[in-house]
Symmetry: C2
Subunit: 463 residues, 2 copies
């Protein structure tokens, strides 16, 4: 009935297991059939008792067999209609395969960093040191809120460089803004259901809050930031803002509006989410201090990231919760585990403690300032008065308005693509309506000077 | 009015900025006051024009000043009632500081791994190699679903070792079970609202689904797994189960029940979440194959982790979604970013490709089998017939029932603590009611043989 093959790479007991299993599942061995004893089966197959016993034990452990004391093993009753199936009926794999990687000569994507910018050698050293020091810690779960040492380093950096005043206790290490917002959406949802977002504005907060069943209220952005009258007139009780460098328009919210926004939040337990995603990158004058620092005890949730300066692929960010939300956070997340690898957290802490982080910021600021200036010069040279640049002086992109062109953004993106130029659609930032003027978003982080100049030259010919 | 100090470490322009800012915020400089010209102020302070211009520029950029063409800078109107505050009013830091680390001589916590078990040297090599190969990739966001190479390695491992049949397309790399369940809760919530969980069972799924506003239905666990009649009688349309090693009782769900559970899910678009958290650790006989492998096209969400064998601090796990959920997943998460560091993902992929992962499993299985056997022997020696052990033969803990003791679990945990023994409360696994018999949970991963024997000896004297 069963045949074992000594030259097969599958172990003998497993061969026997497979064959008996198949007989049971196909119904060839009906329920309650008594199997030969281990001894008899071993003789029949010219196999060792261990082989037979191994197969029987596994079939028994998985429930294909049952045993009766002093009677041996019997086939279990299985419902044949629900027998196992293979993958044959699955959809074609090709339906889901990712497309080939895009290959553009000129990539104006706003989320690209300088290609050689990751401090590989320093990171390697900090990692090896952190692994050496912490290998004993790797056998247990760490602090769900994040490594204490890293939180202390971030606290000190934020106070010194961003004017954020907080305790390490208020800091939560996250794997990117999406996770911070997930937590915020979760801990606020008992008493909040409407979120105001900037329009135009970053799309991720809209998606995350929608995924948590919030209503999204788009609020227009003026050159002094989110329109406060519009915000006050809405029924939203949470406002997501980018006050130090509005995404995508690059505006800075002046202090009067910041104070008014804080006052709005203070009246009636509303909350401000301050996304301070790239404020280290300010090319003329010093970085704009955070909104949180104006009212450290206010209802402000501050979010920062290492994605723009160091690497978006490390998935390392942080959030400062106001004390008023800490209890709810801890109650809801008490059984959760950390979201970021302890090794990566300790590596980052070490990187900061050694002073590498702030040196790296300065280095990056110089590199991007150069690219930024070349971009502006190229636009001046090739577009002249045909283009108006807004949002310059900071970050990794500028916004280009083309009041005279008859082409739509979609048409320009299409033409650009044919010339090997990748543009990220500015219209994706719009929640309602579209800009009246054709507007392009130009990220400059990922290209060198020659590419920037070349890309703008080509772009000026097709717009 | 303003005094600059050349020997102060704060730059001169910043000193001036700070002093003017303070005058504006305190009202000493009222709104619409015209500031002296840069030239006049420089003469007054005996400072350079650059110093004054730097201070003015920053105050202007932040909105403390406004400018009129050819008239200079004026103080902006700020609402003094809402002026910035410092941290003085914040709650005492000590209210939130974590307590001192607990220091137990005997730690029976079930989530502790063997202290020297992390493969530090191999991990370092794989990390350095992955950093060398991928430093150029670190300047952009990676695949939100996880690195393709790691997904291929996991697919191959799952097929070979766990009988899971899937495509790498179906695999999502996650930062632990909590994130997998977050995603599942999110993509199922449009058409599902009730989740069945095992009782007793793991607490994390209850918390995550509660955080997504699901109703939790506890279903009793029998020696053949979750009670199917009870499940069918409930109105739940999602079942979270641990079929290969029930947490905490250690039972294996036999194949007949697995097939019946699959059939339950197939009738009416219900879903099974199979948490296969530690099935690699089976000490007698081979690991029990997955439930997913019985019906790869069924409504089964399979979850696995590297936490139990490699390290819980790395935060590295994976989930296999059925094809029926992939479209919804992609639609809801299209704008999200990956959750796990690319470097860690590539390190793990490299670790698997080199064969280290499966060698490490075998090594860990031997180490834990030895600890497991010593624990059972110690219980036999010290408790004799006073204790009944269940859930042995697999994983990192066993369950000890003490039918004769008059002490409650809480009393025993308290007494044990006084003797330097840490016990994890078994009652935490119970959703409803409590076990009739006093029951202890004994994790053995974190202690060596002498500690295990010693701890059990002391425990037997206080129970």
């Amino acid at each position: 009935m069963f045949i074992l093959n000594n030259s097969d790479s599958v172990p003998l007991y497993k061969q026997l297991y497979n064959q008996i299993r198949e007989h049971i599942l196909s119904g060839k061995l009906p329920a309650d059939t008594r199997l030969p004893s281990v001894r008899d089966m071993a003789i029949e197959l010219s196999a060792s008792r261990n082989t037979v016993d191994g197969a029987y034990q596994e079939l028994y452990a998985e429930g294909y067999l049952y045993s009766k004391p002093r009677s041996g093993y019997f086939v279990s009753a299985l419902d044949q209609d629900v027998a196992p199936q293979t993958l044959s009926g699955k959809p074609s794999k090709n339906d889901y395969l990712p497309g080939p990687p895009s290959n553009f000569a000129y990539d104006f994507h706003p989320a690209r960093l300088h290609p050689e910018s990751f401090p590989t050698e320093l990171w390697r050293k900090c990692f090896v040191e952190s692994l050496r020091r912490n290998s004993q810690q790797l056998v247990q779960y760490g602090d769900p809120q994040g490594d204490w040492g890293l939180r202390c380093s971030i606290q000190s950096y934020l106070e010194r460089s961003r004017g954020v005043l907080c305790d390490p206790d208020q800091i939560i290490i996250c794997a990117g803004l999406q996770q911070s917002l997930d937590i915020v959406a979760n801990i606020l949802k008992e008493s909040h259901s409407v979120v105001a977002v900037e329009d135009p504005g970053y799309h991720l907060p809209r998606f995350v809050f929608q995924n948590h069943s919030y209503t999204i209220v788009p609020v227009p952005v003026e050159p002094d930031g989110i329109d406060l009258n519009h915000l006050k007139a809405s029924n939203s009780t949470i406002a997501y803002v980018t006050p130090s460098h509005q995404l995508p328009l690059g505006y800075v919210m002046p202090v009067a509006n910041r104070l008014a926004l804080i006052e709005w939040a203070a009246s009636g337990g509303k909350y401000i989410i301050e996304d301070d995603y790239d404020s280290e990158l300010r090319y003329h004058g010093k970085p704009i201090p955070s909104l949180q620092g104006l009212r450290p005890t206010g209802n402000i949730i501050y979010s920062g990231t290492f994605s723009k300066i160091l690497s978006p692929a490390l998935r390392l960010s942080y959030m400062v919760l106001p004390y008023s939300l800490l209890a709810t956070y801890r109650q809801r997340y008490q059984t959760y585990f950390p979201s970021v690898s302890l090794l990566e957290q300790r590596t980052m802490a070490h990187f900061m403690e050694q002073g590498h982080w702030e040196r790296h910021i300065r280095r990056m600021r110089m590199i991007y300032r150069k690219k930024h200036d070349i971009l502006l010069q190229s636009i001046e040279t090739h577009f002249g008065k045909r283009a108006v640049v807004i949002g310059h002086g900071a970050g990794l992109h500028v916004v280009l308005m083309l009041p005279d062109t008859s082409l739509s953004e979609v048409e320009i993106i299409g033409r650009a693509q044919q010339k090997g130029i990748r543009l990220f659609p500015f219209s994706d930032f719009h929640v309602t309506g579209q800009p009246e003027t054709t507007t392009l978003m130009l990220g400059f982080g990922g290209m060198n000077s020659i590419k920037i100049e070349g890309g703008i030259s080509i772009l000026s010919q097709i717009c």
